[in-house]
């Protein structure tokens, strides 16, 4: 079982995001605020499901403790990924938070109907985006209790 720096258990966060700029910002911010976070990045919905199901290319993927999911993705969009996660008895307990540009009420309502744990809009301003990532870390990865992974990660 891998141990993170400072002797703490790693926190596996799966980021499903196709924008390289947003990926970079999140990598840098998480690196700054929480050294326990292991950020795993996939760029489309199909890769996300392969990661979660340990399909080809992802045989050793750890089970994420937390998922950040964009809605508008190539190949399989975030809504479809959310449906698949929440219909899976094993995967549905992983807190899954939508992080997307869409502010459309229809998207917000639909996501909560599909049982997303939370819905966040990406701010346009860089410093606000950073601030949001910090608050995601503070609320979800420090304060909230997350379900334990069932197997060693």
């Amino acid at each position: 079982m891998k141990v993170a720096p400072e002797g703490r258990m790693p926190l596996h966060v799966l980021l499903v995001e196709d924008s390289p700029g947003d990926v970079l910002l999140m990598q840098e911010t998480f690196r700054d605020v929480n050294s326990s976070v292991r950020l795993h990045v996939v760029n489309d919905g199909t890769q996300a499901m392969s990661f979660l199901r340990r399909g080809p290319g992802y045989a050793d993927a750890p089970r994420p403790d937390f998922i950040l999911l964009d809605l508008n993705l190539p190949k399989m969009d975030g809504r479809q990924v959310l449906v698949e996660i929440k219909n899976d008895e094993d995967l549905k307990t992983i807190p899954t938070v939508i992080l997307t540009t869409s502010e459309a009420e229809a998207d917000v309502v639909k996501a909560y109907q599909l049982q997303t744990n939370c819905y966040l809009c990406k701010p346009m301003q860089l410093h606000e985006f950073e601030s949001l990532v910090r608050s995601i870390n503070d609320f979800w990865l420090v304060r909230a209790r997350l379900p334990q992974a069932r197997e060693p990660s």
Partner: protein
């Protein structure tokens, strides 16, 4: 600014049987966000009556957020959670467990029942206040919440 706050209150339902914790939560929300209108239910039966608009809650607003203790008299929080998430019109309402239990089995079960999030109540006053602040910051300021359908 004050008129805006009164005109657009944020409705939070707190399902909590400990009067001390109720008071702490009320004061912490008052500090953190004057727009929050905190409604109280002291057990699972009252909580469901509130959510179903049954007497004496016929005019109850739909909560924007529900904070739910697990260990409650009459009907516990697990049953309330299961009810909320099985109800087509209630299941979109963010429901956050706020409880003393740190038991892994309670955490796992709550997420299985699709609780939006699980929080343990801190024992220290200052930490409790800080937690309510962070609930306010994250859920009531940053998160997008589904709009009330019956407002």
């Amino acid at each position: 600014m004050q008129d805006m706050e009164k005109a657009n209150p944020i409705q939070v339902l707190l399902v909590e049987d400990s009067p001390g914790d109720v008071r702490l939560t009320q004061e912490a929300f008052r500090e953190a966000n004057p727009s929050v209108h905190l409604h109280l239910a002291s057990d699972g039966v009252e909580a469901l009556a509130f959510l179903r608009h049954e007497a004496p809650y016929r005019d109850a607003p739909r909560p924007d957020l529900t904070l739910l203790d697990l260990n409650l008299p009459r009907m516990d929080g697990r049953e309330v959670l299961a009810y909320i998430k099985a109800d087509e019109s209630l299941k979109t309402m963010p429901t956050v467990i706020l409880t003393t239990s740190e038991a892994e089995v309670d955490i796992a079960r709550s997420y299985q029942l699709q609780a939006n999030c699980y929080l343990c109540k801190p024992v220290q006053l200052q930490e409790f206040e800080a937690l309510v602040k962070s609930i306010n910051d994250f859920w009531l300021t940053r998160a997008q919440l589904p709009q009330r359908q019956d407002s």
